[in-house]
Each structure stands twice: as structure tokens, then as C-alpha cells.
Symmetry: C2
Subunit: 242 residues, 2 copies
């Protein structure tokens, strides 16, 4: 009897854990700021496909022409820009957002400033946390990736890509901000276009990079809050650089 009770308890625990892990992305507003809880997805991309080839060539220091799908004949068609899956879809840039929402179930949020709350930071690499952000009449893709560039030393890479052309991307500045434990880290840059491939941005390290110990310092109970803001880049460009 005790054995059955224990089994039932274990099954309940498993269901609870599964619910915790796969629950839908939640959005709530804390102190007037839109907070979006983003659960991790184990990256399935490194299967022997197009993107596995990309990964290999970036490791060798050669940037792949990632924005040209091998099968693209119409230059107006772009491949699926989802960083998670090797998807054979291709279509016009204008319908990438609806493809990402419908096929890959990537959530989209509205608002000039949002807080991206990535849960379960302890999960092993490779893991991605992804959301779309609609702002200033455009859609952006925010990618946080846990990856082992050096074996045994996972790092976190965060970047924002415009779902648009590189010329359109030049008009914006995005800011990612971490703030906890009397430490603050801010990264500001021009977003890259999704046509430029998120893998190469992360391989280049041209994004916010966190080692595990810093990520822990900025985390609260296994979740990392990243405050995101997007502005038009006029002000940024006009400011004098050092």
C-alpha cells in the first residue's frame, strides 16, 4: 500500500514538474512594466542539417552566407529565421513574423520597454530563450542563448535582431539591462537584421555576453530578468563617442 502511495506521489511530482517546465509563456505587469516570462527551449538545431553546417563553419572562423538558403531561387524569399529549428520554410520578409508565431509558437509582445524574464537558467547548454517584441512599428526577435564556446564553460549570449532588412535595422538602437545585487550591466547596440543569422552574431560575440558566475549574480531564484528598450537611433548617433 505504501509502495502505491509513493508511486502516486512520484507521478504527481512528475506531472507538476512537466507543467512547470512546459507551461505557456506568461505575461504580467509589475510596477507598470510589462514582464514576460520566457521558458527555455532546448535547441534542436544542431542536428545534421543546414544549421549544423553553419555551426561547423563558424567554429572554423568562416562566416557562412547564412541568409541565403540553399534552395532559394527567388531573391525576395527568405528562409525561416527561427534560431531554434532547421525549418525548410521560406517566404517573403513580411510573413516571417506570422510564420514564427504560427509554426514555432514564438510569443510576441507590444511595448517600448519590456522585461524579459528567462526561467531555468541552470538548464544545460545549448538552450535558447526567444521572444518577439513589437515596437515602433517593427518586430524584433530577442534571443538569449546558453552555449559552450569553450567546453565545460557555458556562457550566455543575448542579442536583438530586427525582422527586416539591414538598412531598416540601422535606424534603431536596442538596450539590454541587467540590474541586481548592486551590479548593473547595460549593452546598447544597433540591432542586426534577421537576414544576417543569429548564429554568426553569437559566434562573433558581438552581443551581451555573460559568464556563468555573472549570470548567477544577476539571477533571482534561477530566473534572469533582462530589461529591454528600443529607440530610434538618431539620439545614439548624435552623441559624441569617447
Amino acid at each position: 500500500m505504501l509502495f502505491f502511495t509513493q508511486c502516486f506521489g512520484a507521478v504527481l511530482d512528475l506531472i507538476h514538474l512537466r507543467f512547470q517546465h512546459y507551461k505557456a509563456k506568461r505575461v504580467f505587469s509589475a510596477a507598470g512594466q510589462l514582464v514576460c516570462v520566457v521558458n527555455p527551449t532546448h535547441s534542436l538545431k544542431y542536428a545534421p542539417t543546414r544549421c549544423a553546417a553553419v555551426q561547423t563553419s563558424t567554429e572554423q572562423g568562416v562566416l557562412p552566407p547564412c541568409h541565403h538558403h540553399e534552395a532559394v531561387h527567388d531573391p525576395q524569399l527568405v528562409p525561416c529565421t527561427c534560431p531554434l529549428f532547421s525549418c525548410p520554410w521560406e517566404g517573403h520578409l513580411e510573413v516571417v513574423v506570422s510564420h514564427l508565431r504560427q509554426t514555432h509558437h514564438i510569443n510576441i509582445l507590444q511595448g517600448a520597454e519590456i522585461v524579459f524574464l528567462a526561467t531555468d537558467m541552470h538548464l544545460p547548454a545549448p538552450t535558447d530563450w526567444i521572444i518577439m517584441h513589437s515596437c515602433l512599428g517593427h518586430q524584433f526577435l530577442l534571443v538569449l542563448r546558453k552555449q559552450e564556446k569553450y567546453e565545460g564553460h557555458p556562457q550566455f549570449f543575448a542579442t536583438m535582431m530586427l525582422i527586416g532588412t539591414p538598412t531598416q535595422a540601422d535606424n534603431f538602437t536596442y538596450r539590454l539591462e541587467l540590474n541586481r545585487n548592486q551590479r548593473r550591466l547595460k549593452w546598447e547596440a544597433t540591432p542586426r537584421s534577421v537576414l544576417e543569422c543569429v548564429d554568426s552574431v553569437i559566434s562573433d560575440g558581438d552581443c551581451l555576453v555573460l559568464n556563468t558566475s555573472l549570470a548567477q549574480l544577476f539571477s533571482d531564484n534561477g530566473s534572469l530578468a533582462i530589461r529591454i528598450a528600443i529607440t530610434t537611433s538618431k539620439v545614439h548617433n548624435a552623441e559624441a563617442e569617447i
Copy 2:
């Protein structure tokens, strides 16, 4: 004759290079901001001495009691806090600054906001760029270190330490800012006390960390400009964290 002319030219070039490399730290004011040119010093610390032992134990994940010199009997005496050399000096905290200036020739600058311009970023690790900064009635030690935590992958670590006790350090916030090529990276934190050992702060990664590619993006002609500001931490603490 041609041979002697060429030899003479080569000797002149060498003298010029040596002068370029070892010239004194220069300070000039650009656009009202104090810019301090800091030349690198190849770290001589990893000789088989006290600090070599420190390095080994931090690699094993054990933080050494770095602030207690083995030979210290008077608890009011502190060891030399220079991160470059294993120096047998010990004295009261109040005279650490004059020891660092006189014995280790570390420059000191005045001003609430300065620009630390580290030259020759391409030099191999381990290399340190060090300056003292006098501000708000206290002296701070700014350390930029190039180090290979993972073999073959040098990284840059920047931190600011108060030449004072941990309790005094809690009253301040320091900010390091990089700004170039439409990218901006800001790190804000409470300075650590020099009694806590700069090596362990860097081993923990609790500082501004830059990989080589980011350092190159922020560099201009091999020099990295870091804008430094120190404030009292009341404002920082009062701000709501995410």
C-alpha cells in the same frame, strides 16, 4: 656602407619603439575630460611566490585568504596591494597609496570622471593596465587585465578597488563605460576593497568582462578607452531593482 646605414636605421627604429613602449603615462584633457594614457605592464606576478600560490588555489575554486599576508603579525598591517608584483612590503592601509606610487610607480589621477586609455591591447596575456584614481576623498585602484582563463582565448577583465576597508567600499558605486562603433557597454558595481585581492575578483568574473572580439570592436588603433565615474552609492541603492 649601405649595410652600416641600414644597421643605423634599424637601431634608431628599435630606440623609437622602446621609447614608444616605455614612455611615461601621459595625461591630457580632451573636450574637457581628463584622458589618461596607460601603458601595459607584463604581469610578473606568476612567479613561484605568494601570489602564484593564490593563482593556483583560485583555479581550484577555493578563494585564498589573500588579504592576510603569511608574515603579518600586527593585524593593522596590510600587505602590498599592487596586483603586478609579489612584493614583501607591508604597512598600514593609510600608506598603501604612497607605497604604490613610490615603489611601483603607479600613477594617480584626480577627478570624478576620467577616461582610462589602455594602449597596446594586442600584447599577449598576462598583461595588466593599472592606475590609481583619487576621487570623493578616497583613492581607487583601476585594474584592466588580459588573461587566458581558457587556454588560447584571452579575455579582458576590468575592475575598480577601493584602497580602504570593505565597509568604506560599500559607500561607493563605480561605472566603467565603453562606447564605440555604435555599441555601448556599461558596468556599474560597488567597488571591492583592495584587502579582498584583485585576483579573486577577476577569477570570480565579478567585473566587466570582454572577449577579444568585443575588445577589438571597442578599440581604436589598438587602444581601449574606458570612461570611469565614481559616485556615492546612495542613489544607486535607492533605485528600484528589477
